[in-house]
Subunit: 461 residues, 3 copies
Amino acid sequence: MNKNSSNTMALTPNTSNKRETVCIFGTGDFGRALGHKLIQSGYPVVFGSRSTQVSSLIPKDAEVLSHAEAAQKAAIIIMAIQRQHYNFLTPLAEILRGKILVDISNNLKINQYPESNAEYLAQLVPGAKVVKAFNTVSAWALQSGTLDASRQVFVCGDNMEAKQMVMDIVRALGLTPLDQGTLLAAQEIENYPLQLFPMWKFPILLSFGLIVFFFFYCLIRDVIYPYVYQNTDFSFFIAISIPNRICPILALILLALVYLPGVLAAIMQLYRGTKYHRFPDWLDKWMLCRKQLGLVALAFASLHVLYTLVIPIRSFVRWRISSQIVSQALNNKTEPLNNTNAWLSDSYLALGILGFFLFVLLGITSLPSVSNNVNWREFRFVQSKLGYLTLILCTAHTLVYGGNRFLSPSSYRWYLPNAYMLSLIVPCIVLVVKFVLIFPCLDKPLTRIRQGWERNPQYSE
Amino acid sequence: MNKNSSNTMALTPNTSNKRETVCIFGTGDFGRALGHKLIQSGYPVVFGSRSTQVSSLIPKDAEVLSHAEAAQKAAIIIMAIQRQHYNFLTPLAEILRGKILVDISNNLKINQYPESNAEYLAQLVPGAKVVKAFNTVSAWALQSGTLDASRQVFVCGDNMEAKQMVMDIVRALGLTPLDQGTLLAAQEIENYPLQLFPMWKFPILLSFGLIVFFFFYCLIRDVIYPYVYQNTDFSFFIAISIPNRICPILALILLALVYLPGVLAAIMQLYRGTKYHRFPDWLDKWMLCRKQLGLVALAFASLHVLYTLVIPIRSFVRWRISSQIVSQALNNKTEPLNNTNAWLSDSYLALGILGFFLFVLLGITSLPSVSNNVNWREFRFVQSKLGYLTLILCTAHTLVYGGNRFLSPSSYRWYLPNAYMLSLIVPCIVLVVKFVLIFPCLDKPLTRIRQGWERNPQYSE
Amino acid sequence: MNKNSSNTMALTPNTSNKRETVCIFGTGDFGRALGHKLIQSGYPVVFGSRSTQVSSLIPKDAEVLSHAEAAQKAAIIIMAIQRQHYNFLTPLAEILRGKILVDISNNLKINQYPESNAEYLAQLVPGAKVVKAFNTVSAWALQSGTLDASRQVFVCGDNMEAKQMVMDIVRALGLTPLDQGTLLAAQEIENYPLQLFPMWKFPILLSFGLIVFFFFYCLIRDVIYPYVYQNTDFSFFIAISIPNRICPILALILLALVYLPGVLAAIMQLYRGTKYHRFPDWLDKWMLCRKQLGLVALAFASLHVLYTLVIPIRSFVRWRISSQIVSQALNNKTEPLNNTNAWLSDSYLALGILGFFLFVLLGITSLPSVSNNVNWREFRFVQSKLGYLTLILCTAHTLVYGGNRFLSPSSYRWYLPNAYMLSLIVPCIVLVVKFVLIFPCLDKPLTRIRQGWERNPQYSE
């Protein structure tokens, strides 16, 4: 631990409490923030800078030297400079030979350059060991010490020892290093902090479009129609009644859209007689955002539940019920229990409760920590079997809710059917097609195709 | 990075973007799917096959050679063949010496063979470095690219360098490698994908049995009895009223069953005067599925909450309330506020709300990502202290719900007590015994026993 | 794998199924529990003890020798003894040279000693390779086999090979090793199991204080005032009505307190003209427990939702509504729909639903497994943008709830305003100041300051 490790000093974790000097190239904001933090954690820090004039912003305990001098003082050099200035490193190549260069840079756009910054750095200084790290941490977060967000630092590099040393520094700063493999991962690591929920864009745009459509649809049927024909002002329906129509509709349509691509893919495979043929791009993308579609659907379902449960507290509902009762009392009339209505009302509520319950279960199993703890067989069981059961329950909930209103002419205002009828189209199609696909005459060839069998083997050549 | 690594070429991550050739033995479905994926990720792939005739299914860019020729072209050989065919590798032992053999096989049954497939492979080809990986990934998932399920790939092996190289390939394919240690872990890794919620079987079967029993119990009391004696048709109770009796009963009983084994274990330890004696098998198994029991109980409690909150929306309830009010108005009668009833109703609701709230808290802390972030002291505090508080609140909720109905003879139809009374038996036993165990005369010896003290030291010999 | 590894036998994972002998110093409870478990997992175990008399408590298959003899039999020695007895190891230094010493000790208080136990051990036996591990696992949990709590074992040490071997043992016992870096991490690892929700103390104490204050405030206004002036007994309000006033008030205040420190920090930075100046300690601490404050606020918001949704089921509410309807019917009076009331009621419910929905979304994204899967930009978007939107919605919910009651004199009982009015103070201040800070004349300098610009560069010297 003492003798034999002396010659590899720079590459083994030191056993004494004294830490290794770290060099930082660049005295910008991130460089200084990192320097502050490193000094706090007990690392001697030396800055490499064009002008060695000591700026007041640089941490007091840090030395500022020229790039060449600073580089010679440390085995690890952190590049707190932007990619476009990297070329000044070329003359320093000899000094940097064997050093560990930590690339922390980010770009402004995804895939801005053909190769990642870290790989570019490795090309510029071929003798150095380049490690990509720290690019997902912000200077502000480092400085303020309040790392509410992810403490994960993605690290990649070709040299294991160099990576290990950088990971030790990451840990010393109270962050969690994540080994992402060789420098090939740098591109992905550099793109990572530039994303803003890329997988959520399609589901959110789609639901926004649907919301706008159904909002105006319901506005016409439920607010404008009674205003024109009955001269009653139901404008307050905008607050709860209309959202409570839109939410279940969106939840049902989006849930059906989660299962539609799987059904389309099955049809395509049956038609082609092979699975060794790529799906069209739109289908691939659709399949990749099914989880997000499902979660957006769950969000709308939850809102629907909340909107439904506050119904009895609403001032309008209380007024309507009490006027009905008062008029009954004044007319000296007692209505008998309508058993059919009781059955319809109770069973549509029960179907909704069970559907929502399974939906929440699906949502919980899609939490990363839960889905990482189930195997593929279990995941398939939950997401496929329970998922279809949820879709069946929710569709049945809507059908029973409709009850015998489907054929009543009063449901068609200005020839517009009730909004919930529109929402039934997609889920019914999915369920019918899925039901057809379960028949052995279709299920058997499909299973064989998915196991690798081909109807026309020459197809894929 | 260039000179000194040339002689260990096969064992260090290559710094150029050119990737190492990978050899795949076997041209079955998984072999081809993996080959496709590897080629997409930039790996040259060579297949080893009995017949070197190029099949149309094999990816175009891959070479197909005899096993011996293919093996010589790569440092890593992926075994996409079944265990029963492994013996053909024996004559190739010399060629495979020093190669990395990746065992990706699965069995059809848990613990099908005495040793794991990977260990069997290591015995067959003693000169090779065997790494277990990829067995949790399905060919279909690899092929379709839609890896909704866990992206984790468990990797184990005795040779660190070999394991590292395989883990780099796993990462290159967009999956997450998880180092599980030496080849001893292979058995567990091979059993993993064959499981289907093994820990959930007992809780789910138990609750299914209880559901059936309480369903018929409630059916007799709440539907058949009024039909026989009052000739009224309450069959629609099956949709909501009866489920809303069964759910709280099951939630309470299952929650009590979470804490019963701990109480039984304490009694056993007190009686034996030692903790160095194994519990009977049924108690051990029961203790291991307490988390699952609790989560099933939480599911029933959630359903109970939903069923309860829709009560005022139910058509039947609205009818009943309005008939009561109408008859009051017609009889010219106003009832004064019954303060005792207001107290009972409000406090049973409040107890239920608080109990459910704590129950959800317990559920959240049992999420893997949350429970991994608390230490043992914190976990014990939540699961034991808060758990018992939840049980007390839920039991009190049921007791107050009963109110003064316990002694009313009208609650006993056909001599059957209300179903909720049955649900109180187990929780009351658990709470009483736990209360007795808290007394110092029992708590002190129990604490000493759990710290290792023995009443009869020779017992354990 | 066979020839060249023979001389480093002790340091490479053995390929045969025979496991290495493990030595345990100390025959106390934890030592014995670990011994039992190791033997179960197939490790030969030898105990080192002062008295070599075989105690009946020690596992049958284990050998008990003197410390010196036992140490010579194994490459790994687990120190199941307390720190204060470590000095007996000094004479054994020569025998322990090159051995792996596993420090599993814990202290009774946080930061009890200047250096961690593991570092102290490394100083005492400088020739040994010290690894810290197992201190987060309890003997009881090991013994009973029911590891409900975290299965994580933090491991740290300066020697990579030694750490690797200990991590293999950890895995063999069915636990998950977590590499925490060099021995410098030992202090933190030793403090870990002594904590009991340290970050939650301030939010919980604060909310407890607020609960007590608002409970008595509401008790005076809602129970004592009507009792004194109207002689009506509303004591049952304690069960639901008063909690349902306290919960939303606390949720709103605590949510505002999550965003107040950020606003204060911005003012401080604007005033100082630099970000390179530490915030006062109370502000730093406040900022660090914002997540916990937010989650406690979410808990109160959830309780508020539950308390609100049971309103129509409450016996008192049913009585009040039915008396109102009966008196309407008896007075032969039908009230027309009050459109303003309908608007107010529906919009305050809708605002509450949307606010709660976003609040739950914030809670879900703060789950460790979710927040680890978003990058900093996404996290900021959710926690800052959506967080402020939640605060705005919840404040608006309360304002609209107040409606035109603000100026009604009947709301002021004993000159005390309604409790909800008090709850609006903090959120309104936060929102107004935040609104002011958005103006370009303040936002621009603030952004520049946060990017590292300074108004008075010499300030920080």
